[in-house]
Amino acid sequence: MSENTVKCVKCGVALVLTKTVFQYMGRSFTHDVPTCPKCGAALIDRELAKGKMAEVERQLEDK
């Protein structure tokens, strides 16, 4: 899903890749995800949620 083709419904603007902070199990790190430049809402697609994120979630849980 290309970020340019996705719009934030509330702000009506296209999303742009933005550094976003992820937090879990007391740790945080950043990753670029499509985000609304006005309201800051970020989009996590299924591939990211069930792929890399799930993998990192498991690693953090095991620490």
């Binding site: 976003t20 902070v21 945080s28 995800v33 800051g40 970020a42 979630e57």
Partner: protein, 750 residues
């Protein structure tokens, strides 16, 4: 078993809890061996053709391996699990003596080893050059003591000189002492130990206690006679084998005594401590084809008959322990060390294991010491929760279900006014999966007993999550609800459970109330024949493993209903649901459920709604015992939304005024059946999706994609849910849904 206190857990407590674990304890054959030979290791070397290491093990234990292998009567034989009363079944004990003799022939280079230790100043006298005296002398000189052996005869060997194989023994003695500086003073008779004033210690290795200069050991298991005197072998009434072992013990005892002033007994034979495994296939002893003993190939075959007796009952039967290859003692130590984790300097080591345990207690039932690893992991869950180090996301779904069942989904007939003798507590899942069965059971019970109905959750999800406070809130609500049935003077009602996990929780946390299973009460209710022809296998839930009354009642009910029931090879295994491991460890959960399904080809008659749901998901035909005997064949796989509706319908029926079956929500959702099934299996309900769609504009975000569909998110509980949907006229079609555990936000909002 000692009780573990997770709030003040000490290393000693966890060590004590698993201290009785018999894994690694000596095999039964090692115990009667005067030398304490580590038989399992020796056999392992033989089985792998490692003859020199095998010989070295013998020399370390026997001192004179050729002599011992020829003359030892084989104390181990009677202890071998293949021998004794099992001989006919298991083919006879391992021919350890023959193996030892063969190993001696396989190793041509028998040169003794020299130890690079600094010489010691102390001088030790040994009186007598029989086998025991020579053993003591060799072991002492190997420790670099100065050793002098006094022998009244003109050569060594004592009573062995008469043996037909003395030439062999003589050769072994010569080889053993060839590189030592032991001083042998033959033909020199000691008549009084006072003659040995210049020695720091005296080993009396004469042929009998009568010739021991009046010295006797201070205790039965000691060689020390007080002062600087020690007796070995014949001098303390021991035979040749025990005498040689005494020589080794004496060297250890003398060394300790000289260093500390107190000689410890240094008993070589270990205590055997485990239940031998006797399920090895029968396999007869290997008989050497030639007269010279085993060939190498024959020796390997005989060694491979050894059952390597060791207790690993729990490892063999528990998928969790087998997967992680961790034994009880190391696990207990890790449970303790995990309570001392100080991030970022140290990390937890058994998180996944902790949340992967079904806590079914099957391990305790097959452990000869009843060690319950479920309790150990349970301690870990509680300790983690109390420190905020729990994995909230893996229990969130069930905790929300629990909240529903003790809140909106709680139903009770207490308002009907009458005090009752019993309160039927079907548990949250029986009503959710089998509402007609709950109704029919209640109806049947009501005909015979004074009984009320309380549908709620027992708090098990909170307990499994390690959250004692949340569990206790549920218990407090149950206590309040049950008190409503007992407004008058009458004795508190007995709780009638259908789910054995509820039964266990209620017994433990509401100990003031009596409990009985619904199956026991129903046996007196007079059931009609269920007219079921196929044969069923009874799958007893793990929580009912020790509840013999319930087990018997279930079988009686099935019998009365004419249902043919067979027994499974293992009773009371967890279906996989216990401990809520499904999200914590999907792979292990899959393995456990697969193994349970494989217990029998027959369909399962279960009496836990969760077992039924697990098997339904796996495609295994399974019915609840109540369904079978009452003839209420209900939907096999109701979805999360259906289950909720089922419970709300029970609320509307039983909970008196003001409760109605909820009407369809305003937002009409459409979903493809396959997708709905997949999402349901991912534990995402339509109700959750509706919540996300309705709340995302304010509480999350909504995006429009190129194809016109929308993707929205918001948090529910500790998870972030995403739903992709398209508007179709007045309805909304669900296209996908998923969730993740991480929270996210913009960097400046961190």
């Amino acid at each position: 078993m000692p009780k573990l206190d997770y709030l003040a857990l000490t290393k000693e407590q966890v060590a004590e809890y698993t201290a009785l674990c018999r894994n690694g304890a000596p095999a039964p054959c090692s115990a009667p061996c005067p030398f304490g030979l580590e038989v399992r290791t020796f056999i392992d070397k033989c089985e792998n053709g490692k003859w020199k290491p095998a010989y070295k093990l013998m020399r370390s234990a026997f001192v004179f391996p050729q002599l011992v292998s020829k003359l030892c009567p084989g104390y181990c034989k009677n202890a071998c699990v293949r021998g004794g009363k099992n001989t006919a079944r298991l083919g006879g004990s391992i021919e350890l003596g023959a193996l030892e003799r063969a190993v001696c022939t396989f190793v041509p280079d028998k040169k003794s080893e020299s130890f690079a230790l600094p010489p010691k100043q102390e001088k030790i006298a040994v009186i007598g050059a029989g086998a025991a005296g020579l053993s003591a002398a060799l072991c002492l000189v190997n420790k670099k003591f100065g050793v002098t052996v006094f022998e009244q005869n003109d050569g060594w060997g004592g009573g062995l000189r008469e043996n037909a194989d003395f030439a062999v023994f003589d050769g072994e003695f010569t080889e053993s002492f060839s590189k030592t500086d032991v001083e042998f003073r033959f033909s020199e008779r000691i008549t009084d130990t006072a003659q040995l004033a210049g020695y720091n210690a005296v080993i009396i290795a004469t042929e009998s206690p009568d010739a021991a200069f009046g010295k006797t050991p201070v205790s039965e298991d000691s060689l020390w006679c007080g002062g600087k005197h020690f007796t070995v072998g014949g001098a303390r009434g021991a035979d040749t084998m025990h005498g040689i072992a005494d020589g080794r013990r004496a060297a250890l005892a003398v060394e300790t005594w000289l260093q500390t002033g107190t000689p410890s007994p240094h008993v070589l034979s270990p205590n055997a401590g485990h239940t031998p495994d006797t399920d090895g296939a029968a396999c007869p002893q290997v008989t050497p084809a030639g007269v010279g003993g085993y060939t190498q190939e024959e020796a390997v075959r005989e060694a491979s008959r050894c059952l390597q007796c060791d207790c690993s009952n729990c490892m063999k039967s528990c998928e969790l322990l087998r997967t992680y290859k961790k034994l009880p003692q190391p696990i207990a130590t890790e449970v303790f060390s995990d309570t001392r984790v100080t991030p970022p300097f140290s990390a937890h080591t058994i998180t996944r294991e902790t949340y992967s345990c079904n806590e079914c207690g099957f391990c305790a039932g097959i452990c000869p010491e009843c060690i319950n690893m479920g309790e150990v992991f349970d301690i870990s869950r509680r300790a983690r929760f109390s420190k905020g180090e729990n994995l909230a996301a893996i229990h969130d779904f069930w905790l929300r279900e629990m909240d529903f069942h003790v809140g909106e989904g709680l139903y009770s007939t207490a308002d009907s006014g009458e005090n009752c003798e019993y309160v039927f507590f079907p548990g949250c899942q029986l009503g959710a999966y089998l509402p007609e069965t709950v109704k029919k059971t209640y109806e049947l019970l009501s005909k015979k007993y004074s009984v009320g109905l309380l549908g709620a959750c027992c708090g098990a999800p909170a307990h499994w999550a390690g959250d004692d406070d949340r569990r206790d809130l549920v218990i407090a609500e149950l206590r309040r609800q049950i008190a409503r049935f007992n407004a008058g003077e009458r004795q508190a009602p007995k709780l009638v459970f259908a789910c054995s996990t509820c039964g266990k929780m209620l017994k433990k946390h509401l100990p003031e109330l009596e409990t009985v299973s619904v199956y026991e009460l129903l046996t007196a209710c007079g059931l009609e024949s269920a007219d079921i022809s196929e044969e069923w296998a009874v799958f007893d839930p793990c929580a009912a493993r020790e509840d013999e009354n319930t087990q018997a009642a279930v079988r009686k009910l099935l019998g009365a209903a004419g249902v043919s029931a067979q027994e499974l090879p293992e009773k009371g295994r967890c279906c996989g649901y216990g401990g809520l491991i499904r999200l914590a460890n999907p792979e292990l959960y899959g393995e456990v459920t697969k193994n349970r399904v494989g217990l029998s080809d027959a369909p399962f008659a279960v009496y836990c709604a969760n077992c039924r749901s697990v098997f339904a998901d796996e495609g295994k035909p399974a019915r609840h015992v109540l369904e079978l005997v009452l003839g209420t064949h209900e939907e096999i796989k109701p979805k999360i939304d259906d289950r909720r509706k089922n419970v709300l319908a029970l609320c509307a029926e039983f909970d008196g005024e003001g409760r109605q079956v909820p009407k369809e929500e305003a937002l009409r959702l459409i979903i493809d059946n396959d997708l709905y099934e997949r999402l349901d299996r991912d534990l995402i309900s339509l109700e959750d999706m509706r919540f996300v769609i309705e709340n995302s504009p304010e509480k999350g975000g909504v995006f429009e994609t190129a194809d016109g569909s929308r993707l929205c998110y918001c948090e529910i509980g500790v998870l972030v849910y995403w739903v992709r949907y398209a508007e179709r006229g007045g309805a909304v079609e669900i296209l996908d849904a998923y969730y993740h555990r991480m929270k996210f936000g913009q960097e400046d909002a961190k």
